[in-house]
Symmetry: C2
């Protein structure tokens, strides 16, 4: 039987200081039983997103180690960035990947959340499949008003953390921990510096304002580059194809005569999402993932492993 | 060190009789040391294309076994189909896949070719990297006029086989054996029954008449479906991107106001070709194959194997 594998995608509120970024990432390179699949720091977002794959025990140990480094270096009182956040370690989602059920990832998120608070003193909110209150399934509800607003409202029972005292850590804020399906982060950059265009398009595309189900979306400014970005999260790529998100954004952008300049798949993506989209653009019929030679080699090696 | 792997893509001149097709394919399912990655029979082409991956020794043994079955069942005197062919076993290419050089596949093609003639009595032509005469690098030169013409011209020294007497096998014709890079077979179906449209487009697209280098292309009729097909082989997908072939065909078809109805990736395709094309259609910048989770898992498993 092939071993249990999960993905973990911790998000840290540091995308500019390369020394701090390296210090956070270092344990991920060294830890046995897990592989650093991807990490990318964005200066505008001022955020570091890491993708780790490995066995549940190793992942939990190493994420806690990296989190302690992040907490000791990042001060939310002085953090600025275009991406919503409430803490130095902003989000820690666990994703079932191989031979493990979502329910097991939910339990893992809960037990990890308690350990995390004990060892760091940073209060924890549970989200998505691990949410204890239904409204907290949605990350944007927990992060409403971001660090600055939450600091003032945390003693309001509605905003109490799920683990820890009703106050934020003085420099590291709070952390959102959960279990969820594989998420695709997909950014579309538009050739304009008018952030309202990105915000209007985001409104048309995201589920919360009547757009595509399973898509979260915000419009933001990439000031350094003089562009704006429609930044999307596809929370269920099997229900909501990648190409459909891009094509809807292209369509909406036409209202202002603004072309898509470029797009960016941020972090990891499952092969299925790519194949689904290539079938659309290339009009392939009956195209089967088993026709991709590397996917068959993976199957061959897995069969040998079993 | 990971083991040697080659792909072999034997093409058989039977795409209609399911009993014969199953008899040919059966040994590929059973043989140890190789995996049947793909096989597809096309009624219009009247042709069976198989993709096998495995160790060189196992592949050679099993291909010979299947070839003997094909030779005993297929009579070229009564074969009709829209795809060019000169034999019951029409082409046997060997493709280096892992830990083996092209030169080794050329040697393998040559020694296999001699064994093949000895055991079957079917004369052999060597093509692509294994060609002994430079003009025979091109499959279409060897297959000129197909079975029917070759039968008459084979005693002309220019058309003598590379292995065997200068006459065709009375029912199985001849076989072309060689070594080549990974080839993508890509068909584009157009919503018209005018085969001249497909032929004209093919002329514009293929290298031999001034189109895209590394692309072979013919226009043919899919009579059963009332469509025509531009059937392409991309012989070097790294030099000639998949999307570019489709977009050029779409462009040329516009001359007649004829839309692309559907396309078909025929057999196996490397992940790199798909990712290259998705980057074009989705305008992704800096997209790295290492972002595809399955490709990273494959790398992880290979590292463990080594």
């Amino acid at each position: 039987m092939a071993k249990q594998l999960i993905e973990c995608v911790p998000n840290f509120s540091e995308g500019r200081n390369t020394k701090v970024i390296e210090a956070i990432v270092e344990p991920f390179r060294k830890k046995k039983g897990c592989s650093l699949f991807d990490h990318r720091a964005d200066k505008d977002h001022n955020r570091l997103v890491v993708s780790l794959v490995g066995e549940p025990e190793s992942i939990q140990d190493v994420v806690l180690e990296a989190a302690k480094t992040a907490i000791s270096h990042i001060d939310m009182e002085h953090h600025k960035g275009s991406h919503p956040r409430i803490g130095a370690v902003d989000v820690i989602p666990f994703v079932p990947l191989q031979n493990i059920a979502m329910e097991a990832c939910v339990e893992l998120a809960h037990s990890f959340g308690h350990r995390y608070y004990q060892e760091t003193g940073v209060p924890v909110y549970f989200y998505e499949e691990a949410a204890l209150k239904s409204e907290r399934k949605r990350l944007e509800v927990i992060r409403k008003g971001q660090y600055e607003a939450l600091k003032k409202e945390v003693d309001n029972p509605e905003r109490h953390p799920d683990v820890g005292e009703p106050r934020l850590h003085p420099s590291a804020g709070a952390t959102v921990i959960g279990a969820r399906k594989f998420l695709i982060a997909f950014n579309v950059n538009l050739a304009t510096d008018d952030v309202n265009v990105a915000k209007e398009i985001a409104k048309a595309v995201r589920s919360s304002s009547g757009g595509l189900s399973h898509v979260k979306c915000i419009g933001l400014s990439l000031e350094e580059r003089g562009l704006v970005q429609v930044s999307t999260n596809i929370v269920d790529y099997q229900e909501n194809a990648l190409y459909r998100v891009l094509e809807l954004i292209r369509t909406e952008a036409r209202r202002w005569g603004i072309p898509v300049k470029e797009t960016e798949i941020y972090g990891m993506v499952p092969a299925g999402a790519i194949l689904d989209s290539i079938s659309f653009y290339m009009q392939t019929t009956d195209f089967d993932p088993n026709q991709v030679i590397e996917l068959r080699l993976l199957r061959m090696l897995r069969d040998n492993e079993a």
